[in-house]
């Protein structure tokens, strides 16, 4: 892999923004799970929570953008 591609991948797969996205998905899922208004939101809540949690686990192994 040439150095340019490597640096592009390093810029895309940075831990912090991906972790923020995963956290937001988990929070949306939990709100959907616990809200008392729409049954349909409750039905799809676990998809969000599971997706967010798995994403979080994966992206937390990405290199940090701070270093």
């Amino acid at each position: 892999m040439n150095p340019e591609n490597k640096s592009l991948l390093r810029r895309i797969f940075v831990k912090e923004p991906w972790e923020n996205i995963a956290s937001a998905v988990i929070i949306i899922g939990v709100v959907m799970l616990l809200q008392p208004y729409l049954m349909v939101l409750y039905t799809y809540s676990f998809n969000f929570i599971l997706g967010g949690t798995l994403t979080f686990l994966i992206v937390s192994h990405f290199p940090s953008g701070k270093s």
């Binding site: 899922g29 409750y42 929570i49 979080f56």
Partner: protein, 259 residues
Amino acid sequence: MSFTNFYANKPGMEIKFVGLKNYIKILNKEDIWETMQATAHFMFWTLLLQALIGLGLALLLNKKFKGNEILTTIIVLPMMLSPAVVAVFWTYIYQPQTGIFNYMINFFYDFGEFTMIGDVQLAPWSIVLVDTWMWTPFTMLICLAGLKSIPNYLYEAAEVDRANKFQQFLHITLPSVLPFLLLALLFRGIENFKMFDLVVELTGGGPGSTTEVASINLKREAFEKWRTGYSSAFAVIMFVTIFGLGNIWVKVMNKIKDK
């Protein structure tokens, strides 16, 4: 197990793979949705009250005054008791005829005879009150540890800069104590999401199903209806939710600590 139709009370029964059927059933059942709402109500109010009262008490006990140590000991006593014991004696306190709770409320305003545990409107608040009473000292202790770790020279420097007490609280005390408070709330949030013993002893999920939190429903499915596969799926949903939230809390806490 959560992908099967396993029944623990039917050992000879053929175990079939049912795929995501158990999960789909749980996520389309209105009863379980209602238990999630009861859990949300319980969690939200207990965490809010425990954070506010716990921080307030920690600020109070951080001051030097006579009897500070003995007061701290008295305040942390409820935390040392077993939740089952606490629930049993709070049922006596909540007794409409003989309980001290009704007497105290009627001392301030005459509501007449009312029942906390038996009333649909009041029962959810009765468990919030007991959990807050029992676990606020935990939040308080952790916040107190945070307050004790703040070096005094920060306040001295703030006074030199003519910062008033409120500004000192906002810019020194609160940021320093926030990671500790979040840590306490993380523990309490996880614990309250799966709260079982206190609620089952105090109200048993009633009246009706107003205080039936998710873990009580889970226990009923697993050990009264013996739907082991189904209840395993429910347990997985609860675990993943707690795990996801736990990850976020740890991340937030590290961020605050770095600052």
